[in-house]
Point group: D2
Chain length 458, copies 4
């Protein structure tokens, strides 16, 4: 790794993304201390080339402080060769596969709000993604073993787990903004209950423990205020009505936003603050919140249909064209992600404490070693030290270990392409509240639907 902040190389795997990539471009443009080259690699090479052009427009923007050169890498190896950072943010398969992941189970009465982490959809997605990450990990081992690797791809835990399983010395971690969203809710709470306006998300201090998208806070403070007693009042106040952080009339995306009723319910059930969006949290539980669309509506969160994603992609492709043609101009609005801040810390430009996904070395004392867990960590020059997060309380522990067990089974199944093993994890998912024959039928159907991305399974 080259520690020259003004001459960095970032390999961006999945660099053809329409949307998320532009956020990172904006973040890089905003940083006055960093510069270098971003190598975009994507299986859709035209998408990468488009982003190369768009990226260079970001750098050319008069207000851009960080000047980066964007290039298209023809192969994974070209992208990685001696990179300082590797960013992985890919879609495993197309929306056709995701259509199967999310909607095929509905004919069996299984509803999923996202379908990319756990549940039947998350499992199938994992089976497709793990082999891709096996390749990525091997390529990093061979071409950029010293690079810091930041993964944004879901299923987060299993993607990061795969990287370490294939290349144990990898310097990788997974990033997710769900905890940030919970911090925002706590800021809204302080405003609502106390009239306090918190300026900076980072001034909410939390202890984070759990697994990605099923993450929990067992302490939360703002300055000298313990936020737990407040949250109890808040959860009771808004349990029935829900609490909308957005205006439901305008700008509200009913498929993404929620009224936090699931979070409030989990708090009342277990006493800790669940720290992810309701759509994610619901998928980790028995079908308390996802029994049917009416139940979902009552809990005031959304089922995100893949049709919406397809339309949204079309919109983003239009935007890509507009950015390329210049009919739409570049905006330097920050993404809200922490990737660039983290790179700064890893380069030695200031320590940082934030929540990341890492193999468990004991930072959560009652989850299995090696499973990928989410806790706070200290990012320093060329190292990440996980904060000791303690133990999950027994009732939450029981919910979480079930998923950890399923994830480990899924990993083994994906490595061995073992259908029986994969089905074991599938049938053991809390959302798969089916008799075993129906579960089997659904599993086989979903496997078959996505066989194009399951080489070696048929």
């Amino acid at each position: 790794m080259n520690f020259t902040p003004r001459n960095l190389t970032i390999a961006y795997i999945g660099g053809g993304s329409r949307g998320w990539a532009w956020g990172m471009m904006a973040d890089l443009a905003a940083d006055p201390d960093l510069a270098g080259t971003v190598r975009l690699f994507d299986t859709d090479i035209q998408a990468a080339k488009d982003n190369e052009a768009i990226g260079n427009k970001y750098s050319a923007h008069p207000q851009a402080k960080g000047k980066w050169r964007y290039v298209t890498a023809p192969t994974l190896e070209d992208a990685l060769k001696d990179a300082d950072f590797v960013v992985v943010s890919i879609l495993p398969g197309s929306f056709k596969e995701m259509e199967s992941d999310v909607h095929t189970p509905e004919s069996y009465g299984i509803y999923q709000s996202v379908g990319d982490t756990v549940g039947p959809g998350g499992l199938l997605r994992a089976l497709r993604t793990i082999p891709m990450f096996e390749k990525v990990a091997a390529a990093i081992r061979d071409h950029a073993p010293e690079a810091w690797v930041i993964n944004y791809t879901n299923p987060m835990s299993l993607c990061t787990r795969t990287l370490y399983a294939v290349f144990p010395e990898i310097k990788a971690f997974g990033c997710c903004h769900e905890v940030f969203g919970t911090k925002k809710l706590l800021m809204a709470m302080l405003s609502d209950l106390k009239g306090i306006d918190v300026a900076e998300r980072d001034s909410i201090k939390v202890n984070v423990l759990g697994i990605n998208h099923f993450t929990w806070l067992d302490s939360a403070r703002y300055q000298d205020i313990d936020l737990f007693p407040l949250y109890k009042i808040f959860a009771d106040k808004y349990f029935e009505s829900g609490y909308d952080t957005v205006n439901r009339e305008e700008g509200f995306n009913k498929y993404f936003e929620s009224a936090h009723r699931v979070k409030f319910d989990l708090f009342r059930r277990y006493g800790l603050i669940a720290a992810a969006g309701d759509r994610h949290l619901a998928e980790f539980c028995p079908p308390w919140y996802l029994k049917n669309p009416e139940t979902v509506a009552r809990w005031k969160f959304g089922l995100t249909p893949v049709s919406w994603r397809t339309k949204d992609l079309a919109r983003r492709i239009e935007k890509s064209k507009a950015l390329l043609s210049g009919s739409e101009s570049i905006s330097l609005d920050r993404s809200g992600e922490e990737g660039v801040k983290q790179m700064r810390a890893l380069l030695g430009l200031g320590d940082m404490v934030t929540n990341v996904n890492l193999p468990n070395r004991g930072q959560i004392s009652n989850l299995p070693l090696d499973a990928v867990v989410e806790t706070n960590a200290v990012l320093q020059r060329d190292q990440i030290l996980p904060v000791h997060a303690g133990a999950l309380p027994p009732a939450i522990h029981a919910l979480v270990v079930r998923h950890v067990a399923n994830q480990e089974t899924t990993l083994a199944a994906a490595f061995a392409k073992d259908r029986e093993l994969a089905f074991r994890a599938f049938a053991n998912d809390p959302l798969v509240a089916l008799d075993i024959e129906s579960a089997r039928k659904l599993f086989e159907t979903m496997l078959n639907n996505t066989r194009a991305y399951l080489p070696g399974w048929f």
Copy 2:
């Protein structure tokens, strides 16, 4: 403790039982080495007096080798005073309460095959039973601290847990015959697949681990035969049809017997042999097997209605009268329980290895310390050494720890008479697949239904 086998004192708490008591009387009568006094204590004093008379008839039987004197103890203290053994087998409440435990949840779509261990019924029963066991434990501490205490009462884990929580030095363990039933199934399997007739249940050697009624075997051998590969064949052969160990035409009790399809399914799901009756196992799982009566029928086990228990009790009361009047004569048929054998071992009349319920001291390495677990143990003169049973495999571990967490919460709730805490455990039970408002309503109804046995809760 007096180690004179021919001058023992057994305190039998719940000694008015019609049925189970007679089995113990037969077992005592069959043992040529033991003798002494059995003190019967029961809140139904007439029932105890009846059993006193019946018990003495057992001793008077010409073929009885063990001659015991049966007396009725007017108080718990009288029963316990310097006893050598204490047997606890009580019914917490009447069938009226059990009616509520088992059937009230049905109007919410929750079916329970037994309703005495986990599930909504098991939890309510625990709330009633724990205070009774607090009293029993305190009385043992005060009046028979050196006695060996054998508990047969359900919920087994929580009853035994309460004894140790109140009097940590107690010498208590819990006994249950469910594992024996599984050994019988393995004997039937050997006959079915190999034509081998196994004479003695004890020659099936198993490693037992789990919690009572949700117990698992991770090894099983008969002589030099590993029974696991056979069980795989057996489970596959009879998965569809089920395997009936009894003649369904005659002598078949449809409420108790099963065709082991649940056990076969659990084996196919998880790879270990579940070692309890299907009716019990089903209650620990998500509603895979108990979704509705049709599902139960398809899995070929029975829902035991309390009406049947009521009728059965009437029959047993009739039998009591007949035994007392002499119109029915005493039978010395053995009970199949191991209590008397265990007493022999604890008296130093020969070591014994069998499965018992004890606080976890690490014998199951991935369950919490102090939780009551079921494993093999060595019974020797005045001591029980648990065998190190190892760890539950991850997927089963996840199912089990959820119940352990609920049990610990239930214990704390019962001690503190804390409604919110009790509801937490209730709502977290896998069978309570209800929205939170419905769960609350059901919980309050069941609590109210059984308030006569919940002093201090209202």
Copy 3:
């Protein structure tokens, strides 16, 4: 706790100190953001009054940025009442007791280089100190439960352990500069081997694990340089000759400085970098380095005689007078301690990662929970999160757990004033390489020598 940085209250227990107190005064004077009152409490009230006057001179110094008011607190309670921070730095007993701690064992062939942590002297000192800390902890619980408590008193582990044992909710940690000294050695190494001049101690990044004064580094980096391979070269290069960081001719304190040969030897034995002064490290080992004065001389560290401490104190008392009379002027030279920086972090003026002593919550996975261990931690507004430090390697683990076991025994002995228990720990100390009768005699002698500070023991 009051989070107004310019209106703080610091209770300084042991505030009559000649020397250490002045360093803290200088550090406070140097910080432009903090101000408030320092309450000095000392059993030697005149010493406290002297420091009140001296402290106010610091504040009056024209270059002082932080302006503090120093007052003498007549009682512990007065000092603590609603304090924001409590600093504890006391001497348990006088040099007369320390004379016994350090030198009485010499007649039994036991040499101690410091005698304040482990070994016979450390144990006796602990017996005197623990009751004092019981009182301090109770007073903090009653008068300043929200204060952050920074302990500097030795034996560090047991003092901090006592605070938590008495008041489990206390917000206390222990600070020690020994790891800083090791960082300086690593800086010297970089200069010696690589010609690199490191400006800031903090740019040496280390993972710290162990117990106070027997602390270890299992990773050390400067920028992208792994310092372990360098340290191997360094340890081999200077193993024979030793490495002097100071000029032995002038300014060298032969009682305090060392040539790091013990550290080099421990590295060659165990593969990790021991991170404390050689004088401390030697006392935790079997008498490899402390067999006799000749051995000590060969290992090039010093035995610090109490006579030197007595002379040094006389010098410091002279200096105190000179400061009071004005014949010596106030110097604003910083102390090198981190206390004021840590206060800043706890006030929310910037996160900080440093090594502290805290009860083990699992941050060292193979040391007992609750024992006080030394690891890195993140200091943030009103909270300290220990970094997960991992496990000690087996051979070092074995050396460390022996002391942890002795410390736990000592704590129990001090609480119960149990002579047999105290002797158990004494006889089990690695330095006490005596036959049991001699050990007993020495123990009784030392106990008797210091009986003035052992109320309730005789």
Copy 4:
């Protein structure tokens, strides 16, 4: 494995032994239920042939109930081929090597009472033995993978550890009679203090935990008598004088017997009963008992010189000749070992609880997994279930883990033939109270002295 008790095959590795072999022959001759073939393998083939003849004399003895055929196996493979049991009892090297193990350290002031387990001698012996056991393990894997393997060779822990390291599925355990000796002492105590004559060693019930030769009892009972309070009285009564179980005048072997003062001292230090001979126990401690021959004499145990062993061997060779020629007749006196009883249990002829050495699966909860530990276990047909022994108390734990760490380092060093690693373990042994240069010199000398049995090290 063939479960026909009357047609067994035992492979005896080290079958040329003069003495120990004859004890096993007597035990086999005494058992009326077992019969078959014993294949004797020894690198000294003549010794094996002699024992073949002697063994067959045992079988021919008119009072012999068990009739066995003894044959000499020309190779290890011939001995093992499809054996039912494998007994391993070998001497790694000759007395020339043992002379170096035991006596070379004396010139450095290090005295060893046995020199075959830990200490400098134990370590060197381990370096010679481990490669032999690598070969034995591989041969068992290839030729008798189903056999039960009973190891009697020292160093017990490392020999058994090696068998499992090479062939993890091996069915092996280690046996040692030291705990039996402690039971005898407890029997003597009952006679001395209570006038109770205990007929059977097995009626003393103990919980065993630790590592071989450094094994501890944390409970001991005879019938309803707790032996711990008695042992306290006993240890105090005989601490000064020692307790001789033998007549010191006649039949006393001053090199083997002890007066148990070390055991009494350890009890007073730590509160548990150390369960091995004083000669072994002393070697695991710092040089409390082995400082010099005078200290040893005061503690009333013996240093066993190799010259005595040499003379003893000469006597036994004479006896061998006498047995062969018939000038001495066969005696059927039992050996006191449990090997044949254990075989019976493993054949299914009755369960048995006894102490054995097995890899830690958690049966001792605070020792590392896989290390070979000594606890009770249940021996049943074709399986051994370790009893859950609990945790070592902290102070003893610290002493034990140091040796476990050294053993693991020694194993790795022996596998890799890594001199530096071996020296690390050597220098970290509690008896090696030497400066590092002297330690190095001693280590190299001892290595060189025994190079004939250290192929690949030079």
